[in-house]
């Protein structure tokens, strides 16, 4: 198997002009070194705050970073009732089908993030601040800790 690969590689190498050949070898080396490094380095554990909610219903597809909602920050300023009873946020991460139209209309986040109660939606990067590709989750929730294998979330 390895020999076959090697010979095919040799053939391809001979056909290629020298400059391209060199870059090809360089790329192969680079990929090998990456794979070696990836084998030994464990992914860093996510250390976000308990209750941080990642909302990624549409963000990734729209080319935005996912939203990270810090529960602790809001809890210091508002009681649960304000959002979860008055504004109609369901107790479910990603279960509210929030989009920017609704927010600009003054629903969900837009009830406060309108430049009057809190800063306005023009500050895109303050909410859309998550790592691209982060799945919907309530960070450090018991369910997450139980159901998701170690290290998988950060990959």
């Amino acid at each position: 198997m390895i020999e076959e690969c090697f010979y095919k590689y040799k053939e391809r190498e001979e056909k290629m002009p020298s400059l391209i050949r060199r870059t090809f070898i360089g790329r192969m080396l680079f990929v090998w070194s990456l794979s070696i490094v990836a084998f030994f380095v464990d992914p860093a554990p996510a250390m976000a705050e308990y209750g941080d909610v990642v909302i990624n219903n549409y963000s990734d597809a729209a080319g935005m970073r996912p939203v990270v909602f810090p529960h602790w920050f809001h809890r210091i300023r508002f009681r649960c009732k304000v959002c979860h009873a008055d504004l109609g946020f369901k107790f479910k991460a990603g279960g509210n089908d929030i989009n920017m139209y609704k927010i600009i209309e003054g629903k969900f986040c837009g009830a406060c993030h309108n430049g009057k109660v809190a800063w306005s939606v023009k500050n895109c990067i303050l909410c859309h601040s998550g790592k691209p590709g982060t799945p919907i989750q309530i960070h450090e929730s018991t369910q997450q800790e139980l159901a998701v294998p170690t290290g998988f979330l950060t990959k």
Binding site: L19, R22, T23, I25, G26, L29, F30, S33, I36, V37, D42, P43, A44, P45, A46, M47, A48, E49, Y50, G51, D52, V54, R65, V68, P70, H71, W72, F73, R75, I76, F78, R79, C80, K81, V82, H84, A85, D86, L87, F91, V117, N123, C124, I125, L126, H128, S129, G130, K131, T134, I138, H139, E140, S141, T142, Q143, L146, T150, G151, T154
Partner: protein, 225 residues
């Protein structure tokens, strides 16, 4: 161009070889002085069990990698450090300064109800009205678990300080005595109490905060009565 490429490849090879051989070299050359192990950094809260912290089984990949809790957003592996906004956001420890803490440090490590009672926090009850006061109901409900765990005391007061009745009733809990079947499996999976506890409110690993009343041991040893 040719030379540059050659140089790049050579340097890559050297670094690769170096990375591979480094442990071997380190193993062969004995240090002249005995190394004093660096002291384990002491964090206010440790989310690691003692056994893992002590490094009893560091090669077991199923064990969790050590976490350093309460990292600022730019360093917490959920926020994107390349996003300019991540560094503008407030670090949690700055906000927790002066707030009462729980004994276990689980969850946020903040005793939110105590913080409210002691006046450290003044979260709004109405979105735009800072003077509105919550409608507090002081009623405890005692539940007797079938197991040997102490009885559960559910305090309405602490919950109505934060929540409205409609948050729990009637969707999560039917407001009638004996109408709600609750068990720990359901809670851990995010139902009943687990809708909040284990996500935002203190997690279920703080057993004693709910199972807080000693069982009244009956003549039959606490069996069904």
């Amino acid at each position: 161009m040719k030379h540059l490429l050659k140089f790049m490849h050579l340097s890559l090879l050297v670094t690769l070889l170096g990375a591979l051989l480094n442990p071997a070299i380190a193993a062969t050359s004995k240090p002249t002085t005995t190394k004093v192990p660096a002291p384990e950094p002491v964090y206010k809260y440790s989310t690691r069990p003692a056994a893992i912290a002590g490094g009893t089984n560091p090669f077991n990949r199923l064990l969790k990698v050590a976490k350093v809790p309460h990292q600022p957003p730019s360093n917490d592996e959920i926020h994107d450090p390349t996003n300019q906004g991540s560094s503008i956001l407030q670090p949690p420890l700055e906000a927790y300064d002066g707030l009462p803490q729980t004994e276990t440090g689980l969850g946020n490590g903040v005793h939110w109800v105590k913080a409210l009672d002691d006046g450290h926090l003044k979260p709004r009850w109405e979105r735009t009205d800072p003077t509105a006061e919550p409608m507090v109901m002081d009623m405890n409900i005692v539940r007797v678990p079938k197991s040997s765990m102490p009885d559960v005391v559910f305090p309405h007061r602490q919950h109505t300080l934060w929540l409205a009745c409609s948050n729990c009733h009637p969707d999560i809990f039917i407001p009638r005595r004996g109408a709600n079947q609750i068990n720990m499996a359901a809670i851990v999976l995010g139902q009943k109490c687990g809708v909040c506890h284990g996500k935002v409110a203190f997690p279920v690993s703080e057993c004693k905060r709910c199972h807080s009343q000693p069982k009244k041991v009956a003549v039959n040893g606490g069996g069904p009565n």
